[in-house]
């Protein structure tokens, strides 16, 4: 079975919690890491540990090659060119960087930025902060009761002052594939840019930035099997070349004179200071296994079966309210946020933890979306391609036991 083949490569999945087999369903918060990634990180730390881009010695040269080779791997993964790839510490930093550099260059008083109601705080707060700095206005594209973006309303929401629209490829709460290409087309027809938060999308969706035609695309390494503290900001070359630096420091400059400071070319202009040179090279094996799992037909089939099984189990239960209800199953990825009527989300998560099931509970860094649905928090089960249908069944069975324990 394919999932077994891949599972064996993730040591954490074989661990026990409270004497029970771990069923890890908090993949939307962070994924587990395979041996290839752990090995690469260890190799970088123990054999090639040197600061990159600076020195001429052998170690520095090897470390630089590994680091730049990861840039090629990311470019390949996104179908971008290597000078469009900026390394960051994760999606949050990518969004902060994009908001800052784009705002500095293109946003002035009275301009408008649009975010959607379904965004993670990371794709709201940086734009809010930039709007405050630039005296711009933040506008919100709503989602409907089923969790779908009101794309039809976007055309009306965009004005000639709109500079950029910020949207998640897949919301970390709703687990629905958003029509990013359609939104890109609307933005470009109306003369504004689009920033795509791909933190969940990079795991479950196509990541071809040419096909999406987005101006920015951000994702985190740690959610796609790479070490924490690795992340990517993609930006179209013609745009990135026009943008000012984010942080100042070593390696991002061309020349520093007291009379004038000039900056180096893209993408290094945006990588000031010492980079995560031990972690970034491990993005390459991480994206490689991501690609293998995505292209493995029995893995994708199992993912489809998990999605269908969990979706129908949750929908069938009148006590459960699912957020992010697809119009057809292909819209849904195996990421399920829900509430249980008459039971607090924290109670369920705490009990299921003792059954070995790792879930997320709370606001999921999406307070406006919690307010939209009138809840104080939710439960979330998020699957990765290494999860099995048997785990999904155990999750549903444990959920019913937990509900019974609480409600009697």
């Amino acid at each position: 079975m394919a999932s077994e083949h891949f599972r064996k490569q993730f040591p954490q999945l074989g661990e026990k919690v409270y004497g029970k087999t771990l069923v890890y369903l908090d993949n939307a918060a962070t994924s587990q890491r395979p041996l290839q990634v752990l090995d690469k990180w260890e190799e970088m730390s123990s054999r090639f540990n040197a600061n990159i881009h600076r020195a001429v010695h052998r170690l520095a040269d090897s470390a630089t090659q590994e680091y730049e080779s990861a840039r090629d791997a990311v470019a390949g993964f996104l179908n971008a060119s290597r000078d469009e790839i900026v390394f960051t510490s994760g999606t949050t930093m990518s969004a902060n960087m994009a908001a800052f550099i784009f705002g500095e260059r293109f946003v002035s008083e009275g301009d408008e930025i649009i975010v959607t109601e379904a965004e993670h705080h990371s794709n709201i707060v940086p734009w809010h902060m930039m709007c405050q700095r630039r005296k711009a206005v933040l506008k919100v594209l709503p989602v409907d009761e089923s969790g779908h973006l009101d794309v039809a309303a976007l055309d009306d929401l965009i004005s000639d002052r709109t500079r950029i629209v910020c949207v998640a490829q897949i919301s970390n709460v709703l687990g629905l594939r958003n029509p990013v290409r359609e939104i890109s087309d609307i933005c470009h027809r109306r003369g504004c840019r689009i920033f795509v938060d791909g933190a969940q999308g990079a795991v479950h969706e196509k990541t071809d930035v040419r096909e999406l035609d987005c101006d920015f695309y951000a994702f985190s390494g740690h959610k796609i099997y790479a070490p924490t503290g690795t992340g990517v900001l993609y930006c179209k070359k013609e745009l990135l070349e026009q943008l000012p630096p984010y942080m100042g420091g070593g390696e991002m400059i061309e020349s520093v004179k007291w009379s004038e400071i000039t900056y180096t070319r893209i993408p290094h202009r945006f990588e000031a200071g010492t980079q995560n040179f031990n972690g970034v090279p491990a993005l390459k094996p991480a994206l490689e296994i991501a690609r293998e799992m995505r292209e493995d037909s029995s893995t994708t089939e199992e993912q489809r079966r998990i999605t269908k099984y969990v979706y129908s189990s949750l929908m069938r239960d009148p006590e459960i309210r699912l957020f992010g209800v697809p119009r057809h199953l292909e819209e849904k990825v195996p990421l399920f946020s829900f509430c249980v009527r008459g039971a607090h989300h924290e109670d369920i998560a705490l009990i299921m933890d003792k059954m070995g099931v790792a879930l997320r509970s709370g606001q999921m860094c999406a307070e406006p979306l919690m307010d939209r649905f009138g809840v104080t928090g939710m439960l979330r089960a998020s699957f990765a391609p290494y999860n099995t249908l048997a785990e999904a069944e155990y999750f549903v069975e444990s959920l019913h036991k937990a509900i019974k324990m609480i409600k009697g």
Partner: protein, 135 residues
């Protein structure tokens, strides 16, 4: 009424009867369900305990030197935990509570088995009870 030490010993004994954590939770849920109803009008912001993920209200009524606690929570396990605490400390003299070190909670193993956010919540509950005693 039993003494504070007896009440603590009783709770520790009751709790140790359950070896599995799921059974301990079941016991806490039962405690939570049996907690005396909390009047809606007492659910005010000044009675909300800060530092808990779920909402916990604690009311303290003083009669002479004696403190009487009432509590509620929207999460049932948390409600069980606060019920356990007020079962021990309600109806005690302020000086007794003030002098107590609350260490029996550590013997229950609750801190280690709650998520950090819950453990913070537990600390806030204890802190609130202690503050009432000091007032």
């Amino acid at each position: 009424m039993n003494t504070l030490e007896e009440a603590k010993r009783q709770v520790t004994e009751d709790f140790s009867l359950y070896e599995e954590w799921l059974d301990k939770y079941e016991y806490l849920i039962e405690l939570g369900k049996n907690l005396e109803p909390f009047p809606e009008e007492l659910k005010t912001d000044d009675r909300l305990i800060k530092g808990c993920q779920s909402r916990v209200w604690l009311d303290c009524r003083k009669e002479g030197d004696t403190l009487y606690f009432k509590a509620d929570s929207d999460a049932i396990i948390t409600k069980g935990i606060i019920s356990l605490l007020i079962g021990v400390y309600s109806g005690r003299r302020a000086s007794e509570i003030e002098e107590d070190d609350f260490s029996f909670i550590n013997d229950l193993g609750l801190r280690e088995n709650l998520s950090p956010t819950r453990a913070n919540g537990l600390a806030s509950m204890i802190e609130t009870i202690r503050r009432y005693a000091e007032q």
